[in-house]
Amino acid sequence: MSCSIDDLKAYVVGEMTRHERSAIEDHVRVCQNCHDELDRLNSTQSALASLEDEEIPRRIAFVSDRVFEPRWWQTMWRSGPAMGFASAALLAGAIVVHGFERPWAPVAATPSVDTAQIERRVEAQVNERMNAAVGKAVNEAQAKQSAEFAKVLDATQHRFEAQRQADMASFLQADEYRQKQMARLEVASNQGPAQ
């Protein structure tokens, strides 16, 4: 084996196989320069190892913060039964919504709508209903008016008849009184010249 300082360094830092380590150890037994160099490297390694780790001034304790806790959806996602329940609930909801919702008709199958025709039909129906309503109202008003007129006429006839009968009675009474007066005068005239 030839002298290689890099091999000695790899030996010191533990980057050699057992076979390679044996070869180095055999070499330094017969090579004074490599032996001395290996001593220096080992001493350097030992000096470095004398530097002890320091204790951490304060513990890293932020893991208890809420930022580290899983979010609700992460917990939900990781929970198999909960996810199954949520999926079933979503499916049930979708079925209910679909049941109440009118199915979509394809656009191509939609019949063309003649709005003018519909408007005319609606207008005719409205006019018809309005005419019927107006006619009914007019008839009702006429009937009511005729009934009232007949009632008033009847009352007037009764009143005229009563007045006529009263006048007739009064005339008969006056005529009877006149006849009595005439008879009395006639009697008086017949008795006068005889005295």
Partner: protein, 182 residues
């Protein structure tokens, strides 16, 4: 080891499902390593702590993107690497983070005797890339392939950075070595 791998997979799987406590356990296992890696990389305690928190926050938020739970350590350190370099770029937007290594100064007795200070000083003399290579290999024990994933570079680049760093550290720490660290 196998038990720990199984446990790691289990913790990651639980954390992915939103178990906060499982992620708490993961953090408790890795926070010290991540903090020290970042501390030696960004070299300021408060910054290292803030970045550590950001790292674990991002790790949690992106845990589902981790394909293989066995790669969690390298994946976590990749996030830490990205966060650290984001901070370093903010600090020195004009600096080229992959600059050529600074040459070590003469080591003739000018470093502290105390080995910890010497090692810290030696590490600070490295470029950010070199220092990170040492941190990932020597202190975190990652393999070259894992380091390549963390740093998003070829294995050859990882080796180059690490071996250059070891050369510089060897020179810088020579007085310490002579003083006998072991």
């Amino acid at each position: 080891m196998i038990f720990r791998e199984v446990e790691l997979r289990d913790l990651i799987a639980k954390a992915r499902r939103g178990h906060v406590e499982a992620y708490n356990v993961l953090i408790s296992r890795w926070e010290k390593r991540v903090f020290n890696y970042l501390l030696r990389l960004v070299r300021q305690r408060e910054d290292a702590l803030d970045v550590s928190q950001d790292v674990f926050l991002k790790a949690y938020q992106n845990l589902k993107k981790l394909d293989d739970p066995a790669k969690f350590p390298a994946w976590l350190f990749r996030i830490a690497h990205n966060e650290a370099y984001s901070l370093l770029r903010k600090r020195h937007p004009e600096a080229e983070l992959t600059a050529e290594p600074r040459m070590a100064e003469s080591s003739g007795g000018m470093f502290p005797i105390e080995s910890t200070l010497a090692v810290r000083s030696a590490l600070e003399r490295l470029t950010d890339d070199q220092r990170e290579a040492v941190l990932l290999k020597v202190y975190q024990g990652f393999k070259f392939e894992e380091m390549a994933e963390i740093l998003s570079c070829p294995v050859s680049t990882v080796k180059s950075r690490l071996y250059t760093a070891l050369d510089l550290l060897k020179q810088t720490l020579a007085p310490v070595n002579i003083g006998g660290v072991e």
